[in-house]
């Protein structure tokens, strides 16, 4: 199973560091120079996951006339912030995109590791069911769940959607996955209210002050997340390389989830990787959760940088969850 092409969509609503500094009291230069972000995009009030995902899919179809809607047998949406609790976003998207009713549609509830996990899920499903073409969408708009005064999140995250064409016939091959979960850290990146444990209906019907508005906002323990990544990811990279019969020097690029420039640089130094093999692509879009790795793939494919290259992709975050894989590009 192969990655044939990737398309992306960023919301038109740009948020610069000046505005972030006004909201949070943070330092614009620090966000630019250390976190590595100059601007990010937030969905508008009336825009949704489906709207942005639709844009990414439209870009994918427009850029790939060979991709026949009628032949798409699988549509996966990776998101933890869907438009609705019920139904799943992929079903809504299937209808708007006019995909066949024979398309398998499901969502995957994962954060920053979601794209890497979903590639393997799609690969297995397509192989098992003999599906020739599939689309993998990522869209996790944290702007909808971030308190605007919370510097730890609002300075870091941005919204984006991506659409990846998966094909049985040609494209970059997807290797063997290394993956893992440490649920003991689940509370370190969390939106507490809105699920079944703390349902929205409880607030309105019982009229009790059992939640505060802040419980509906994403909360991140930055130090715990940083420690998790620095401790887990080097081992995951080593394990993935072993599973794929490769060594560090066989990899041309390491596409790490774009959590922050500071984190990626520290991870690179810890693993003693060459700087030009570990690109950072977040200055104009920030940390876009499950979309960050496909955004890198899209941009590097556009720049024709991936011909005959071996790319390691590694996603990590919410869960705490991680997944690492190898993508091998041919000459196409």
């Amino acid at each position: 199973m192969n990655i044939r092409n990737v398309a992306i969509a960023l919301p038109a609503n740009k948020i610069d560091n000046k505005l972030i500094a006004e909201w949070t009291g943070g330092d614009e230069n620090f966000i630019r120079n250390k976190i590595g972000i100059e601007t990010r995009s937030f969905l508008g009030a009336s825009e949704s996951v489906i709207d942005l995902s639709l844009q990414a899919c439209a870009n994918l179809f427009n850029n790939n006339p060979d991709l026949d809607k009628d032949k798409v047998g699988l549509l996966i949406v990776v998101t933890q912030n869907p438009d609705y609790k019920i139904p799943h976003s992929s079903a809504i998207l299937q209808n708007i995109l006019s995909l066949s009713v024979n398309t398998a549609c499901f969502d995957i509830n994962l954060g920053c590791s979601g794209y890497v996990y979903a590639l393997s899920v799609a690969k297995a499903f397509m192989l098992a069911e003999n599906i020739k073409d599939g689309i993998l969408v990522t869209c996790d708009p944290y702007s909808k769940v971030m308190g605007r005064t919370d510097y730890d999140t609002v300075s870091v995250f941005g919204d984006a959607a991506t659409a990846t064409w998966l094909s049985a016939e040609q494209g970059a091959t997807i290797g063997y996955l290394d993956f893992g979960t440490d649920g003991s850290g689940a509370n370190h990146l969390m939106v507490k209210a809105g699920g079944s444990a703390y349902p929205i209906t409880g607030i309105w019907s019982e009229n009790q002050n059992i939640y505060c508005v802040d419980d509906f906002h994403v909360k991140m323990n930055g130090r715990a997340i940083f420690n998790f990544i620095m401790k887990r990811i080097p081992g995951s990279v080593a394990s993935c390389l072993q599973k794929n019969g490769l060594s560090l020097s066989d990899v041309d690029y390491y596409f790490f989830h774009q959590a922050s420039k500071y984190l990626i640089e520290n991870l690179r130094q810890k693993m003693d990787l060459e700087e030009d093999k570990v690109p950072i692509e977040m200055i104009d879009c920030a940390n876009t959760v499950s979309s960050s790795i496909p955004i890198m793939l899209h941009r590097f494919m556009l720049r024709a940088k991936l011909t005959h290259k071996t790319v390691l992709i590694s996603g990590f975050g919410v869960g705490l969850s991680w997944a690492t894989n190898i993508i091998k590009f041919g000459g196409e």
Binding site: K34, I35, G222, R223, A224, F226, N227, M230
Partner: protein, 89 residues
Amino acid sequence: MTQLEAMDYIAIALRKVIKKDKIEFSLNTDLVLEKILDSLDRLVFLLELSEMTGKEFPEDMDIVKVGLFKVFNLVDYLTDRKNISDFRA
């Protein structure tokens, strides 16, 4: 661990983070107030120190608020003169 050894570990961790050969600090230094460590450098500093000494800095604890970036407090913790629970209180 002696006080001198603790100061050495702190110096090594600071050098790794700040990437300067010589960093001046004393027992009276506050690494945050004196802007030696910014909010991101603190993460690496604590991780380095923890890996070198085996001492834990609980992730649910606000290390700035409890005063563990004041060198004399940090030394007290590293040398076992104080437990982490002393700082929680």
